[in-house]
């Protein structure tokens, strides 16, 4: 079954909330609806689907990798080139912690950047169905639905005061 996409543009947030409620009432799955806005609204303000993300896992993995590299690097260099000073142990823990901590943080931030891009599904060369007025303060309702239900979705968007409806 072929799908199509619609983007209804609104100026009034209340109308967006009403349209979202009506779309859900008309049987459009909430996962197929999305909100585009130039600034964020409190979560769930429009009754939209709150997409889960796993961003917090990325820095954890990065930190573990960074810590491991830091440990191998500092311990490896000292063991490879042993310089015994005053009978002290070869591994000098305090300066090692600085490098290990730094590597942990570096790993965490690099993976966070990757996580932000991956979880946001960015970068995108083609903006897809989009309108420049969104960054001016307009709000868009994005509907992904079967072709035969596009008319019903359009009717809901129109009846709630959409200023324009774009189609893919």
């Amino acid at each position: 079954m072929a799908n199509t996409q619609l983007l209804g543009l609104f100026e009034d947030p209340q109308k967006v909330a009403d349209a979202m409620g009506e779309l859900k009432g008309a049987g459009f799955p909430v996962e197929d609806l999305d909100i585009y806005s130039g600034s964020p609204f409190p979560e769930g303000a429009f009754g939209e689907h709150e997409a889960e993300h796993r961003l917090f896992m990325f820095p954890l993995v990065g930190a573990l990798i960074g810590f491991s590299i830091g440990l191998l690097w500092t311990a490896g260099t000292q063991i490879s080139y042993p310089l015994i000073t005053g009978g002290k142990p070869i591994l000098s823990i305090p300066p090692m912690t600085i490098i290990m901590y730094e590597n942990t943080m570096l790993g965490a931030i690099l993976f966070t950047v990757l996580g932000v891009l991956f979880e946001s599904r960015l970068p995108k060369r083609d903006l897809g169905l989009y309108d420049e007025r969104i960054t001016e303060g307009y709000i868009g309702i994005y509907v992904d639905c079967p072709v035969e239900r596009a008319g019903a979705a359009e009717a809901v968007l129109n009846s709630n005061g959409a200023e324009e409806i774009k189609k893919a």
Binding site: P95, I98, N103, I109, T112, L117, E119, S120, R125
Partner: protein, 461 residues
């Protein structure tokens, strides 16, 4: 008795704010270029001063004291500013919305600061035979590589924080800026942002993470700065709270600089409606708190040395407090503690535009003088004779070192270079965040409250 009817406060719409900020962002007038030219000239002067020092080599470390003081001043004011953004965002302060972008844009100065770090590290002596956090790590990788990595990571975090929080506004620039190199750059940097629900959720979480990373790593930078560029060069210096002192001073400097920049943007950039009394008033409170902490930490260190009375401690007090660097300490004491305390305890001063700005400017001057004391002094201590370990007591107290022509050029040029980068980035990324201000507007409602109108602000999450 009839009550005076106050005018109902008008809350602007997102559209009004976005078009106003975009108009200011697009406007690059003659005055802007005049300032950029002047700053570029001063920066070139700084490079000339640097080349003069470079031509003398690194054998005489005292030549590099003012250079290092400039580096540490920049790292403790400009580079500390993203902490304000991270901290206030974590605290969910609504009044921060117009000013956090300004503090994030300052992260760009980290690029200059990182490059300035390289000669300062070369000027440091090897770690063998002297006290340092690197113990006897003889390898080049230890303190030089370690410092470059830590500072570099702090700079990277700042730049990632800036980029992430600017992406929605870069998308606005992409959408509304006429075809131009700036518009093209915004298109690249906005990476195809459309502002859907998932992107906003990830942006919120990512900003919190980067902010937390900055807060976690910046103290490490200050610790290395204190340990490698001061304590490791000063015989007898054993101050456990020195890194914490430096951190508190950096936070004070960051708040002071934020106030001054807000005033300049308000006065000369036309941003009056964004940097209002709320922002100045709110920031004056942490400025007062950091000023009190300035004294608390300074006193905490001083009293330990004073009561210790070991030869190394007594000589250090003479060198850094009573004799050679007495006047810089007095200037800093007045501008970083007494001045802010006396001025900011008064409500009318705190609750004004000019009061916190003047205090903030004073704090910056005091911080610069204090950094000169902190880093010119240890750089003027000569190395021990070849083959001998570093002493635990100053063999003789060096005289206070006044700046030469090259030093003056470096100090002025370094600061001008940082301001120049800030001015340039402001024409790539809007200095006021459209999306954050827009988000805040939606959380504000004007309600009737008894005989007056009150502004009610909702929590965003």
């Amino acid at each position: 008795m009839a009550h005076e009817e106050h005018a109902i406060p008008q809350v602007p719409t997102h559209q009004e704010i976005a078009s106003d900020i975009m108009a200011r962002f697009q406007n690059v007038n003659q005055r802007y270029w005049s300032w950029v030219s002047l700053l570029a000239l001063l920066f070139v002067g700084g490079i000339v001063g640097f080349v003069m020092r470079l031509s003398d080599g690194f054998d005489d470390r005292s030549n590099w004291g003012y250079y290092t003081a400039t580096l540490s001043f920049l790292a403790s004011t400009f580079l500390a500013m993203p902490i304000i953004s991270a901290g206030l965002r974590l605290a969910k302060a609504n009044w921060r919305r117009p000013l956090t972008r300004l503090t994030e844009n300052m992260a760009i100065t980290g690029v200059l600061i990182w490059f300035m770090l390289i000669p300062a590290l070369i000027a440091l002596p090897p770690t063998e035979g002297r006290l340092s956090v690197w113990f006897d790590f003889p390898h080049w990788m230890a303190f030089r590589g370690g410092n470059l990595m830590v500072w570099g990571t702090v700079v990277l975090i700042g730049l990632f924080l800036l980029w992430l929080l600017a992406v929605p506004d870069l998308a606005a620039v992409r959408d509304h800026m006429p075809a131009s190199p700036r518009g093209k750059l915004a298109r690249v940097l906005s990476v195809g942002w459309t502002g859907n629900t998932r992107q906003w959720r990830v942006l919120h979480s990512g900003a919190l993470l980067f902010g937390a990373f900055y807060l976690l790593l910046y103290p490490t930078l200050q610790t290395l700065l204190q340990a490698d560029f001061q304590a490791g060069l000063l015989p007898g210096m054993k101050d456990a709270i020195a890194p914490a002192t430096a951190l508190i001073n950096a936070l004070q400097g960051a708040v002071g600089l934020t106030l001054v920049v807000m005033y300049v943007m308000r006065r000369f950039g036309g941003y009056e409606r964004y940097f209002g009394i709320d922002q100045f008033w709110a920031l004056s409170k942490p400025l007062l708190a950091f000023s009190l902490l300035w004294f608390y930490f300074w006193w905490g260190s001083f009293i330990t040395f004073w009561y210790g009375r070991q030869p190394g401690e007594s000589e250090l007090i003479r060198f850094m407090v009573l004799d050679s660097y007495r006047y810089p300490l007095m200037v800093s004491f007045m501008l970083n503690f007494i001045g802010p305390l006396v001025a900011l305890v008064w409500n009318p001063v705190r609750r004004s535009i000019w009061g916190p700005t003047i205090v903030g400017a004073g704090v910056l001057v005091g911080a610069l003088v204090n950094h000169i004391r902190w880093y010119v002094a240890p750089f003027s201590v000569p190395d021990p004779p070849a083959g001998e370990a570093w002493p635990h007591v100053l063999p003789e107290i060096p005289a206070g070192q006044l700046p030469g022509a090259a030093d003056a050029l470096i100090v002025v040029g370094g600061i001008a270079g940082a301001v120049l980068l800030f001015m340039l980035i402001n024409k790539i990324i809007p200095v006021v965040s459209m999306w954050e201000v827009g988000e805040g507007l939606r959380l504000v409602k004007v309600r009737r409250f008894l005989a007056r109108y009150a502004m009610v602000i909702a929590k965003s999450h």
